[in-house]
Amino acid sequence: MLTIRVIPCLDVKDGRVVKGVNFVDLVDAGDPVEQAKVYDAAGADELCFLDITASHENRDTIFDVVARTAESCFMPLTVGGGVRKVEDIRKLLLAGADKVSINTAAVKNPDFVRAAARKFGSQCITVAVDAKQVAADRFEVFTHGGRVATGLDAVAWSRRMAGYGAGEILLTSMDRDGTKSGFDLPLTRAIADAVPVPVIASGGVGTLDHLADGVIEGHASAVLAASIFHFGIYSIAEAKAAMAARGLPMREGR
């Protein structure tokens, strides 16, 4: 039986781990490779690095982080942030990433997703969708950490990206991110029910029950969280035990 994935996410800037609250107030908190080893040993089902390095000259730091992680962690790794060209994807895959997550570049040039999926296979192309509620039942896609509205309907956009070959949608509620008030379940469910590919729910996890809610009520295939794991509030094992207690199929670590 396929199990539900629990995915800790590390925000990485200039080769160091940070975690934003609503994408501001960043707190530097360590070496990503050391964190990755901890999550690997703790039985995380996948690991996600989100590279938020802004300066051009430090853009290559993520390749070193990925390469060093792949030397010691034998678990699936997704890397997002700044993935703009086919060459970016190739370099990340060669460094040891299994999947790349495309966000802004997909909005700017949707055909990039099609080309990437054709070149590397859908299985390694995740499209990250950052969505905000803009009306009673309308969610819009935003870029640049939630600052730039795109005018795109999040459900239609997700469906289109899946059609272009995205193997997975990483869905983040920009309204909930950093709030610890739980996933945006109507948003998650609307998109999970609209696309044929798996959806990772992200943004807003504050309690262990929120994780199971994302799957049971939001219909997500996987859940991603950063701060509750990173700051040691809950362990991966506690998260899995809580989700198993709600009747979800979970993998025990290692």
């Binding site: 678990m75 699936p76 895959l93 040891g96 044929p196 295939s221």
Partner: protein
């Protein structure tokens, strides 16, 4: 010292595979040089051959054929000389007669059968099951026990990410499957050849066990 050749033909995540093999060799004391190579002469002299692969079947096939002399070296060493072979993911799918991803592409013909898009039955509540099949699924092993699977048990988890799967024509070639709205081939093998749809290099302890077993396998 023997050489385990991991064939580099421009497909994907060779570093992970190489590092996982190095770890597996170190943990079990296997004496072999893990060598990522695009040199057919290395493959022609290797003691073990590993073919990874991610992406589309046709692209992998074209990528392999684009490395001059590689296909010939692979066939000679594996099919004729009979050294142990491990195919991973699309590297496993290439063992089939043909792949039906986007276009029909000829495979190696080592495992009779074709690679087709998975069409899982719906979830219990009627929702369509997601494709790709992505994540950790529980292995169901078929008799008889295979030396490369020693110490791996029914119910152990392995990491899958794929939309197409190999359907072997002969059931004895299917060494393991998983259930995802129906059976999906997880491991195929015959004689000196074995292939995994899942990624042993990403499957933590279970995967490292399989790689270590492969390094000591004498078919």
């Amino acid at each position: 010292m023997g050489v385990t050749a991991i064939i580099d033909y421009g497909s994907g995540n060779l570093r992970s595979a190489a590092k996982a093999f190095e770890r597996a060799a170190a943990e079990t004391g296997a004496v072999t040089e893990i060598r990522v190579t695009d040199d057919p002469t290395v493959v022609a002299g290797a003691d073990r051959v590993v073919l990874p692969g991610v992406g589309a079947f046709a692209d992998c096939r074209a990528g392999l054929d684009a490395v001059g002399g590689m296909r010939e070296a692979l066939f000679r060493r594996v099919d004729e000389d009979g050294v142990p072979f491990l195919g991973i993911c699309v590297g496993m799918q290439l063992m089939a007669d043909a792949g039906h991803e986007h276009v029909v592409t000829e495979g190696f013909g080592w495992i009779p059968g074709v690679v087709e898009r998975i069409e899982p039955a719906p979830e219990a509540d009627g929702r369509p099951r997601k494709v790709p099949h992505m994540g950790w699924n529980t292995l169901i092993l078929n008799a008889p026990p295979h030396p490369v699977l020693a110490g791996i048990n029914d119910g152990d988890h392995a990491y899958f990410v794929h939309s197409y799967a190999l359907r072997p024509a002969r059931t004895e070639h299917r060494l393991a499957q998983v259930d995802y709205g129906g059976p999906i081939t997880a491991i195929v093998g015959r004689d000196n050849m074995i292939g995994t749809q899942f990624h042993p290099e990403k499957s933590q302890a279970t995967g490292l066990r399989l790689l270590a077993n492969f390094l000591s396998w004498t078919p």
